[in-house]
Amino acid sequence: MKKYIGRQTVKFANPPSVLAAASVVGPKEGEGPLCDFFDVVSPDVLFGMESWEMAESEMVRRTAALAVQKAGLHMEDIRYMLAGDLLSHNSGSNFGMRSFGRPFFGLYGACSAMGKGLGLGAMLVDGGYAEYVLASASSHFCGAEKTFRFPLELGTQRPPTAGWTVTGCGTVVLAAQGNGPYITAATTGVIVDMGITDANNMGAAMAPAAVDVLINHFKDLNVGPSHYDAIITGDLGFIGRDLLLALMDDAGYDLHKNLGDCGMLIYDRAGQDVHAGGSGCGCSAAVFAGYLLDRMKKREINRLLFVPTGALHSVATVQQGETMPAIAHAVVIENK
């Protein structure tokens, strides 16, 4: 049976259920407006470890273990683990998952990792290749600064367009059977590069990728923005969100009523000095696993279009003056 539709969308025949989700965040995220929705707020940014890299992996490990526990399963029940992060060679996920001994796919999609994991995970479950799949995405502020920017103790100023990488991890367990919410469709994004070279303005680099996947999603499924109770992008932040709205207006789609962004939700912009808002794989992952799924369980949102966004540059490509390609993936999550 054909499950693909239009240019780049899949519509699941037996929509996988989100069986359980877990979110673990750092202290700054725990001071933000969504603090009550996260399972664990670590007071220690090192998570009891000795380096930022191992701190992120420990966070990934704890979140995965908690998600499986909340699902009432054992780790042996998980057929595939899909996980992505921002560190070199996906090491946050590789080291975080190494102790579990389960089949593993590392994903790199920068901050779009959770969208990628949910889409691929749902394909694995709906395709009959697994009963239970775990999808995870994480980022750590200190590790990301070290990888992409400057040492933490360097006395510099961040430009107003810069985002703040979330220290957090979100993990979900997808299952062939369950009480929902269900992943009913997913649109895989294409790489879009609109010529942005400023690595301190990632919202601007990513907004066109989100626009592209949204328009193709609407066309493929023949629906409009009002079909959804909420359309939540990953980490465009305040500037990227404004750009997305402007581009969507130009394309004839009105998203003003139901658009939100995880990067805008996770921090208090005025009080937490985060400039353009939250970013990082952990931003959309923790907001989805903690806050958005909670709102779906309470039936405050019944039909969600979740669109994590990622900028696909590296330190080397930025230094070489290359433009910043970006990607976004759209995933539909619905209550029955």
Partner: protein
């Protein structure tokens, strides 16, 4: 998404309009106050050293050393990054900023070991300043030598 050159130019304009710039006037004022303040502290040390009977050149050298030590200490307890965030160039341009630029990566890369971590990465930010500073001083020296 239309990714033609025209569309990219139009998008660049849209991005420019949507992206707030830095607050230049406030940043300049803070840089002036803090940068000037660091220099005043240095001058106080130098005057004290001169009053103790130290020669002028020696007093300048010892003053620079004292400021570097203070900046290293402030960096290691996490205070210099806060001063830098507040003052911008006011904290980067004085010699204390140079000390911070060497200490910060030394702390950051401690986990990678003394050789490939601290030793190799210590100059990752300050290295270019040393390279081009030394080159500039050679050029100025040659200029001075031939124009004398």
């Amino acid at each position: 998404m239309n990714q033609s050159e025209v569309a990219k130019q139009e998008y660049a304009l849209l991005v420019e309009q949507a992206s707030p710039g830095s607050k230049v006037a406030g940043n300049c004022l803070r840089a002036f106050l803090v940068g000037g303040g660091i220099c005043v502290v240095g001058q106080i040390f130098k005057n004290a050293l001169l009053a103790l009977g130290m020669a002028n050149d020696d007093a300048s050298l010892v003053t620079a050393c004292i400021l570097v030590v203070i900046a290293v200490l402030l960096t290691s307890v996490g205070l210099y990054s806060k001063i830098g965030k507040f003052a911008g160039a006011g904290a980067i341009v004085p010699i204390t900023g140079f000390a911070n630029a060497i200490t910060a990566p030394a702390i950051e890369y401690k986990k990678e070991g003394l050789v490939l971590g601290v030793g190799a990465k210590m100059f990752v930010i300050a290295g270019p300043v040393i390279v081009y500073g030394a080159m500039a001083s050679v050029l100025v020296g040659l200029f001075h030598f031939f124009m004398r």
